[in-house]
């Protein structure tokens, strides 16, 4: 609980209008896309880095937790005020400060919505590729803090591959600048990369310098339908082995296709057992050639249909298939565990076979789709929490899938982060030495554990966040 004096001081920093304490307002800042919910004591909307710094200095002096929040679209509870405290919303800091067409860099504030930024750079013939499916509402600050990825990651990489420099307010209120706008730079540790994916636990990002690319001249969208799941899975590595890196290689398995067809009737043949949505971009001539090469490469792999969009509306039709996945899944069961495992691309056929075995063993519906081009598969375990025992079975199934993933040389989360939701599984992937090192880093940044406490590391949940041996 915050005392009245603290609230007064917060008002002194951000102004009455930008501090919320009414219960109705608080319930609106206690959730994210995980559907978990915690009630904060107050919500602040600072206007600039100076106000952010003042808030963190106060938090350090008076020892209350601060939880950074962008759009609250996270899938792992990273922004949630577990245990109470102050939610710090970044969305008033939402200016695109400059787009430099000479150096192909842009500087933005963290509250800018991803799509807005993409539209602005594209007006100048430039390109910011990271495209999480939430781009219409997620913030760039949240994207950096989670290191968000998207379908275009196959060719272009994820958010961190475009972050050149940051302005960060440290938990003690100091403001630092990391990296910069030069393409090279080896002075000291790479704190920029450390901040990427740090889930708001090390500092609050108040400015971001992004690298940009020239906007590709054209793109081609292809729907490839396969008669077997193995065919589609093998197609992924076959294309890459053929020395073609598509922009996008999205995958949908048979249960996913069934869900979508049942609800939306998009005309996918009934012989389809899996499909890929493939996009290539670049020079007009080059992509023409590449799409023919892809056809040749995957034809032997149980290919049922190869549909190339002739124009934008046809491409839109193909993407509609992918976008219809999420709304149609709930026809299977009302609740879902949404995992985002990653394996090396060549291991995709193997991991899909193992997931199928897990599904049979535990008898819970599992629907797989996602960014197969980079080995990132969204494994959706569809359950009904009302059915007794189902949640338990799902938990066990997840554990088994994670084990298989790690055995295949993969990782538990490609882009959604750990937050609160995946803490129970962290130790499966990370040894004690590495975890201890990470906690030491956290402590170096945030000795009083006031910034986003209780996230990533399971122990941090407890009253004494760090074991005595580390103090």
């Amino acid at each position: 609980m915050l005392n009245k004096g603290t609230i007064e001081k917060l008002i002194g920093i951000v102004g009455q209008a930008n501090l919320l304490t009414a219960r109705q307002d608080l319930v609106c800042y206690g959730y994210d896309a995980t559907q978990m919910e915690f009630l904060p004591d107050a919500v602040v909307h600072p206007a600039d880095p100076g106000e952010v710094a003042a808030i963190l200095r106060l938090a350090n002096a008076e020892k209350f937790p601060v939880f950074p929040r962008g759009a609250g679209s996270g899938f792992t509870g990273g922004s949630l005020p577990k245990g109470g405290g102050v939610v710090l919303v970044t969305t008033r800091m939402n200016r695109i400060l400059r787009i430099d067409t000479d150096n192909l860099v842009a500087e933005v504030e963290p509250g800018v919505v991803t799509e807005k930024f993409q539209q602005e750079v594209e007006k100048l013939g430039l390109f910011y590729p990271p495209d999480p499916a939430s781009l219409k509402f997620s913030t760039l600050g949240g994207n950096v803090a989670e290191c968000a990825g998207g379908p275009r990651a196959v060719k272009y990489g994820v958010t961190k591959d475009f972050v050149m420099g940051l302005e960060v307010v440290l938990p003690n209120g100091d403001i630092i600048r990391t990296g910069g706008e030069t393409y090279k730079g080896v002075v000291g540790y790479d704190l920029t990369k450390l901040m990427c994916g740090s889930e708001g636990t090390l500092g609050i990002i108040t400015k971001i310098i992004f690298r940009l690319l020239p906007l590709p001249e054209a793109k081609k969208t292809i729907l490839a339908i396969f008669g077997s799941i193995d065919g589609a899975a093998k197609a992924v590595s076959t294309i890459i082995r053929g020395k073609i890196i598509p922009t996008t290689l999205e995958f949908m398995d048979h249960p996913t296709i069934q869900c979508v067809e049942r609800r939306f009737h998009l005309g996918i043949p009934s012989t389809a057992r899996a499909l890929l949505i493939i996009e290539v971009d670049g020079d007009r001539d080059l992509i023409e050639k590449q799409s023919e090469q892809i056809r040749a490469l995957i034809s032997p792999l149980d290919l049922v249909e190869f549909r190339v969009a002739r124009d934008a509306p046809e491409a839109e039709q193909i993407w509609k298939v992918r976008r219809s996945v999420s709304p149609s899944l709930r026809d299977v069961n009302p609740d879902k565990y949404n995992e985002d495992i990653v394996v090396p691309r060549s291991k995709i056929p193997e991991i899909l076979r193992q997931i199928e075995a897990v599904q049979k063993k535990y008898d819970v519906p599992i629907v797989n789709f996602g960014h197969a081009g980079d080995g990132n598969i969204h494994v959706n375990i569809m359950i009904d929490k009302q059915v007794i025992g189902m949640e338990q079975k799902a938990q066990e199934a997840i554990r088994e899938i994670f084990r298989a993933t790690l055995n295949a040389g993969g990782t538990l989360s490609g882009e959604h982060g750990i937050g609160l939701a995946k803490q129970p599984f962290l130790a499966m992937e990370m040894g004690p030495e590495q975890m201890a090192l990470m906690k030491t880093i956290k402590r170096a940044f945030d000795p009083h554990n006031i910034l986003n406490p209780g996230k990533i590391f399971p122990e941090a949940n407890e009253a004494a966040p760090f074991p005595p041996s580390l103090r």
């Binding site: 219960r23 319930v27 609106c28 559907q35 759009a71 709304p327």
Partner: protein, 418 residues
């Protein structure tokens, strides 16, 4: 509370993904989570579980919704937030009584002859009512008669309401389709020329037209204020009046009235009052917007459009967009030889009116409107065209406040000249 309990399942469909943040006009203006659909749903769920007060702030949060349906249209789970907000407003009315404005609206709507505007205005502007509003209130600047504007830019009232100047039946050619016309308050009192344009267009195609005298206000203002009882009474009369002529179609030239008949009657009133459901669905199934009706009937311009074409830009009313009516009006305008259609940026963005929203949240409303007005002016068009008289009023207001004399027209007015 029953109204909220009925919607509990609907609320559970919201998974808090935040997609509504990209589409809610009230959120985009204020940037605050209680304004957006998932925030309102969270508040409604907490109300249902009795852990939030039914106070002024709760009322303000629920009032901060335009009922535009934009969130639902773009929601992966198609959560009907508008129904949830109406349910919450009804529960609030039950707990705390109707808010002042809703009470005024309901009183007016309950006058014996529901569409007598003179009486309505006289009542609302009487010193008795007006004294209750502080001089600093936005209400003073923009005093609403159901859906009617402010005292700065109230559109001039028609000298004679549309309904009292036309017969109940206009016979057409044998074999041609028959149509029942639902007029609505704005078209009746403020823009009778829209109704006249529709009659001319339909008569040109030989249609038989019925204009039932017994029709009332559609009831949406009362419904959106949480006064289900008044809207039920009005709906009952309208359903009887519209159903008394057996016609192929029911047509509306007001996006909001059409939305009421097509969506809110079956989805909200029908659910709350099962005895209305059958007739509500029957009428909803026949209800078309005028632009869709003209498209289906294959409207053809008469002239060939000599001279310089009229450059127009089209604004999508939320209550047409929510029903998927975006292509028909544009196709009709493109088909008119004397018209050149110039698209504005964000044609699908709300104008900010939202019925009584713009009184409860005047600043937000006009903030939304400023963006709209700027986009309209950037097109350089000679006229802005829309399919909703409510939008037309709000658009004129915004344009006048920016010192522009651009014309504001209904799609039907443009077509009737062709």
């Amino acid at each position: 509370m029953d109204s909220l309990r009925r919607l509990e399942k609907e609320m559970k469909k919201c998974v808090r993904c935040g997609a509504c943040r990209a589409y809610c006009p009230a959120f985009l203006e204020t940037g605050r989570e209680p304004a957006v659909a998932r925030g309102k749903i969270a508040v409604a769920q907490h109300l249902l579980h009795q852990d939030l007060p039914w106070d002024g702030l709760t009322r303000e949060i629920m009032a901060n919704c335009l009922l535009c349906g934009n969130c639902t249209m773009n929601c992966p789970n198609e959560v009907a937030t508008d129904e949830i907000v109406i349910g919450a407003r009804e529960a609030l009315a039950e707990k705390r009584g109707l808010p002042f404005l809703a009470r005024a609206v309901s009183t007016v709507l309950r006058f014996p002859r529901g569409m007598r505007l003179g009486a309505a205005i006289a009542y609302l502007l009487s010193p008795l009512v007006f004294r209750k509003i502080p001089a600093t209130s936005g209400l003073r600047l923009r005093f609403p008669v159901p859906f009617l504007g402010n005292n700065r830019h109230i559109p001039p009232l028609a000298s004679k309401p549309f309904l009292s100047s036309c017969p109940e039946v206009l016979p057409g050619k044998p074999g041609a389709p028959s149509v029942v016309f639902f007029v609505g308050c704005m078209n009746n009192f403020v823009y009778p020329q829209i109704g006249e344009a529709l009659l001319a267009l339909l008569q040109g195609m030989g249609c038989t037209i019925f204009i039932p005298k017994g029709q009332q206000c559609c009831g949406l203002p009362a419904l959106s204020g949480g006064d289900l009882e008044t809207s039920r009474r009005l709906a009952e009369k309208n359903l009887a009046a519209l159903g008394s002529f057996s016609a192929d179609f029911v047509v509306s030239a007001c996006a909001s009235c059409g939305g009421a008949l097509h969506k809110f009657y079956p989805a909200v009133l029908g659910k709350a009052f099962p005895e209305l459901q059958g007739q509500a669905e029957h009428i909803a199934g026949k209800t078309l917007d005028a632009s869709t009706l003209l498209t289906r009937l294959g409207w053809q311009p008469r002239g060939s459009g000599s001279g310089e074409p009229l450059a127009v830009t089209y604004h999508d009313p939320c209550h047409l967009r929510a029903r998927g009516v975006t292509k028909d009006p544009r196709d009709l305008l493109k088909h008119a030889p004397g018209v050149k259609l110039v698209e504005m940026e964000g044609a699908d963005r709300c104008c900010g009116l939202g019925g009584t929203f713009n009184v409860h949240h005047y600043e937000t409303s006009m903030g939304i409107n400023r963006g709209k007005t700027a986009a309209i002016l950037r097109t350089g068009a000679q006229a802005v065209v829309s399919g909703c008289p409510g939008c037309m009023m709000q658009l004129s207001d915004g344009l006048k406040q920016q010192g522009s004399a651009m014309r504001v027209m209904h799609t039907l007015e443009v077509l009737a000249n062709e």
